[in-house]
Amino acid sequence: MSVMGSPERLGRATRSAPSSTLYVRVNPAADDPFKEWVEDAVVELLASLRGALPPPSSDIAAPVTVAVIVALPPTMDDDPWRAAAGNALVEAVRGIVGSITMELGNAVRINTIVTRDEGAQATQDALGFLSSPRASFVAGSTFDLGGAECAS
């Protein structure tokens, strides 16, 4: 499992409206998928978000835009305990993104993309949309791209 920012996407940032992408990736071979995919991921994700997002008192001209990409393993459905851990990760991120949206209000615009192929065109399309002004009213949402059964 790893949570990491994307430097090339951070490069899109402007002083008034920075944006970033955080990737939540899991190790398909994890011995303890719930501990590694969910607990460890949440600890790392919240640490990354504390660094990426301004405290409520910050004076910023435009909301900080963050996309959290949850990249699930292509195969995990054969084992119900692993599939359940994957679903738990998706839901945990949804809960966190929703909480932060409500807490920080118009200081941040954070959304989640769930995918099994982070390089797929659909993933890039979603990322491009969320990073654009066209998505300025989209906040706290989940774009489920191929992980549909996981987030249901």
């Binding site: 919240l46 305990w81 679903n87 738990a88 966190i96």
Partner: protein, 239 residues
């Protein structure tokens, strides 16, 4: 029964004893556990569910007592603004409120399969709808909803029922501690924070612990169909 010395846990144990059930009562607080449940028909065990060795010992104790119904009602307070959380606190909230639930369910699974058992997890309405200043807690509670929704059908094939209770605001010390943090973050008094929250609950009040306990005991019935997720929220959060 985990978290048996807590407010909701105690009320559940009391309700089970009224039904003449034999209860194995667990809590991290040994003295509170003994004080509340040091009675006949109750086996008590104290320890930290964050420790895998203790969880395995607890599973052994359940096996020795032929436990067929498990109610997981333990938890730690996870309230606080995002920027006041640190890794250690997030780890504790996730480890106790989510990972320990999953690990203990796994440890108990062999005997639950043998007996056609039932697991009831006391989750939270914060597992169904996000709330501000509650990011770590929502992470843990949402995770359990997602986990149970996906796993319950697979366990049902083996005759094990996995059910979730998502209670709303229940008058407990844990809730009051959480509201203390909300109030501090919002710059208001505890009474103001509580009144504001109650105004959002259609039934116009918080739940008493006995009401939330009754919902958990209802879900624990092994012999009858029950909802896999029950939102007992006074109408504040609907499924």
């Amino acid at each position: 029964m985990t978290g048996a010395a807590g407010a909701i846990g105690s009320a559940i144990v009391d309700g089970l004893r009224e039904q003449a059930e034999h209860v194995v009562a667990q809590d991290v607080d040994a003295s509170a556990l003994q004080q509340r449940h040091g009675a006949a028909h109750t086996v008590t065990t104290d320890g930290d569910l964050g420790h895998s060795g203790y969880r395995r010992a607890l599973a052994d104790l359940c096996r020795a007592n032929t436990v067929d119904t498990v109610i997981l009602a333990h938890g730690v307070d996870g309230a606080g603004p995002l920027h006041q959380l640190d890794d250690q606190r997030v780890r504790r909230v996730m480890g106790i409120n989510a990972t320990a639930v999953v690990a203990l369910t796994q440890d108990l699974m062999p005997q639950l399969r043998e007996r056609g058992g039932v697991v009831v997890i006391v989750d939270s309405q914060a597992g169904l709808q996000s709330e501000p200043n509650l990011a770590a807690y929502c992470g843990a509670k949402f995770a359990l909803v997602g986990w149970a929704r996906r796993l319950a059908p697979a366990l049902a094939v083996d005759g094990v029922r996995l059910r979730l209770l998502c209670p709303g605001c229940t008058r407990t010390p844990l809730l009051l501690a959480a509201f203390g943090r909300f109030a501090e973050a919002a710059g208001e008094s505890l009474d103001e924070a509580l009144a504001r929250r109650v105004s959002n609950i259609p039934v116009g009040r918080m739940a008493e612990v006995e009401e939330t306990a009754a919902a958990a005991i209802y879900l624990a019935d092994r012999s009858a169909p029950r909802p896999s997720i029950l939102a007992a929220t006074g109408g504040e959060v609907l499924l």
